[in-house]
Amino acid sequence: MKKNLILTALSLSFLTVVGCGPKAFVKGQYDDVNRENLLNDQWSETDMQKAVADLVASLMASPSISQAKKMPVVMVTGLQNKTSEHIDTQSIMDMVRVELMKSGKVGFIDKEARQDIADEYNYQNSGMVAEDSKKGPGAQVGADFIINGRLDSIVQEVGKDKSVYYKLTLNLTNLKTSMITWSDQKQIRKTFKKKTIGL
């Protein structure tokens, strides 16, 4: 019996000491980026992949793109974040642009690079660059369309149940007429059970 007591006391002491130790991630492995990620109740890369894939497929099938006589030139503008999460909406629009470019049927204007391009024109026209290779203002292509959109969410939580609903809406607007020529949305709903009791 004394042996048991000693063992119990030793175990408790050990737990007291090691319980305060650091808990670091020490072993990792590469994972498939297309595998579903439902680790937590937040916007995930799986949500982004699913929403963008469906919307890009819809956009590619729209007459504005599929029946265009010449390659439409598009500019991606902002995606409004109307959710209760800090979501990198730039990353979503980057994925939209990349997926559209992969089709080879759409050309893109880089709005973000405008200042860099203007600086480079100034440099190339400063006399430092050979005449036959320098570029200058006046030859850029104007965009035919802009893509913008909005990400909304509705979160409901009662007791241990939580539901998260996302709606990603994208619009393609004709710059000449200012008419929205295509618009579609992707809805995602995820439900979670919260741990209320644990060890």
């Binding site: 019996m1 004394k2 042996k3 007591l5 000693i6 006391a9 030793l10 408790l12 002491s13 007291t16 000491v17 305060c20 650091p22 808990k23 974040n81 109307k82 959710t83 209760s84 999460e85 800090h86 979160v155 409901q156 939580e157 009662v158 007791g159 919260k194 741990k195 209320t196 009791i197 644990g198 060890l199």
Partner: protein, 413 residues
């Protein structure tokens, strides 16, 4: 030789007691950092709180909260928000009943249970995030926090939390954010909900009248005008050519949890006296004094009073558990049984964990100004209206038409 196992047991038992009773309490661990904050030695406080906040432990949440405040005071707003975002996630992860920890708390002390934060503290996390975003001029992210505050508010209301737990300031702040984004209907709804939680908010009458009119809720506008006849409508509220300077002023220190003088196993709240009671804004030959919108001290006291019944029941159950455990040991070994009884009672102490860097009250100053650059000063005033020496001098701000500029200031003495 036969006595060796008995001695070893005694030694191990003593080691175990020392391991449990020798732990410093939360209050003693953060005392030095709080003192540094009071002396405006912000880098020192940040340095002291950082290792506590970064270490994974059952108390990590409470240290993250204090660390986030220290970073805010140090002007490191982005880092402060990184910490508060981590705290917000952690508060969700630790929000469950741990069987092993509850059992441990019965045998030992309430501090064995992981720190989950009081309801009003958990909503405060998002209010701090929103304040930092507003001060950084990032209205979009402040709006995200306003929505998050609303989600928590709806959840806690569904859970039938009491009014004082729902944190009227967070609702009030989310109304300010909606108003800044010109979402006047959302602003009106949030002001109205803040009023339902706490009708004593000093500015709420004018907030409700103004936001109802801006939201074009004519019936409600008339109704609020009748309810608050003392409020004089100012035409500048509706002048789109003016901007607005909004000061969110955090005054003093909230009350501290200490072991009760009557029963050391229970916590009590001790108010922290502050000389600076109000803030005075001086800008463009105009002077405005702050008005209270939230009493943190009252929320903390009411929360503890609400928890008192549960705490008493748990400590009574704890005493019974200790008696049974030590009696079981005593039946096998008299000495170790007595030792266990002493050890378990020595280890039992009041749970004094709390978000102790919160202010005593939160106040606001709102001033409409024509567009332009302005120099302004914020001075601390005592209860008699005299200057206390705490101030934010010679600050410059740019006011734009139709926009709000937010300044967050804290007095610490």
């Amino acid at each position: 030789m036969k006595r060796f196992p008995q001695r070893l047991t005694l030694v191990v038992g003593l080691f175990f007691i020392l391991g449990l009773s020798g732990c410093a309490s939360y209050q003693s661990k953060v005392h030095s950092a709080r003192e540094a904050l009071t002396r405006h030695e912000f880098p020192k406080a940040v340095e002291e709180l950082k290792p506590l906040a970064e270490k994974e432990s059952d108390d990590q949440l409470v240290y993250l909260l204090d660390y986030g405040v220290a970073l805010q005071l140090a002007g490191r707003l982005k880092e402060s928000n990184d910490v508060f975002l981590k705290a917000d996630r952690l508060a969700e992860l630790v929000d469950y009943q741990s069987i092993s920890r509850i059992a441990g708390s019965l045998a030992l002390s309430e501090e064995m249970v992981q720190y989950k934060g009081d309801t009003f503290e958990k909503i405060f996390i998002n209010a701090y995030l929103a304040m930092n975003y507003l001060e950084m001029g990032n209205l979009d992210d402040a709006l995200v926090e306003a929505r998050r505050i609303n989600e928590k508010y709806l959840k806690y209301r569904a859970d039938e939390k009491k009014s004082f737990e729902l944190n009227s300031f967070s609702k009030y702040l989310s109304a300010l954010v909606w108003e800044a984004s010109r979402s006047y209907d959302d602003a009106y709804i949030a002001y109205n909900e803040a009023y339902k939680i706490d009708p004593t908010i000093a500015t709420i009458g004018e907030d409700l009248i103004r936001s109802a009119k801006l939201a074009r809720r004519t019936d409600m506008y008339q109704s609020w005008k009748k309810k608050f006849p003392e409020v004089k409508e100012d035409p500048s509220w509706y002048d789109k050519n003016l901007g607005e300077l909004v000061v969110i002023y955090q005054q003093g220190w909230g009350p501290r949890k200490m072991p009760s003088q009557n029963e050391y196993r229970f916590p009590m709240l001790v108010p922290v006296s502050s000389e600076t009671q109000r803030a005075r804004l001086a800008v463009n030959n105009k002077v405005e004094v702050s008005r209270e919108v939230y009493d943190v001290q009252r929320a903390a006291i009411e929360t503890l009073q609400e928890d008192q019944g549960i705490l008493i029941a748990k400590r009574v159950a704890g005493l019974a558990t200790k008696a049974v455990l030590s009696d079981q040991v005593r039946q096998k070994n008299e000495l170790l049984g007595s030792l266990a009884w002493i050890a378990l009672n020595v280890a039992d102490r009041a749970d004094v964990r709390q978000w102790s860097t919160l202010p005593q009250t939160i106040q606001t100053i709102r001033l409409r100004l024509p567009p332009g650059r302005y120099k302004f000063t914020l001075d601390g005033l005592n209860a008699g209206g005299a200057l206390t020496g705490e101030s934010l001098d010679n600050q410059e701000v740019e006011i734009k038409a139709g926009q709000k500029k937010f300044i967050v200031w804290r007095s610490l003495k």
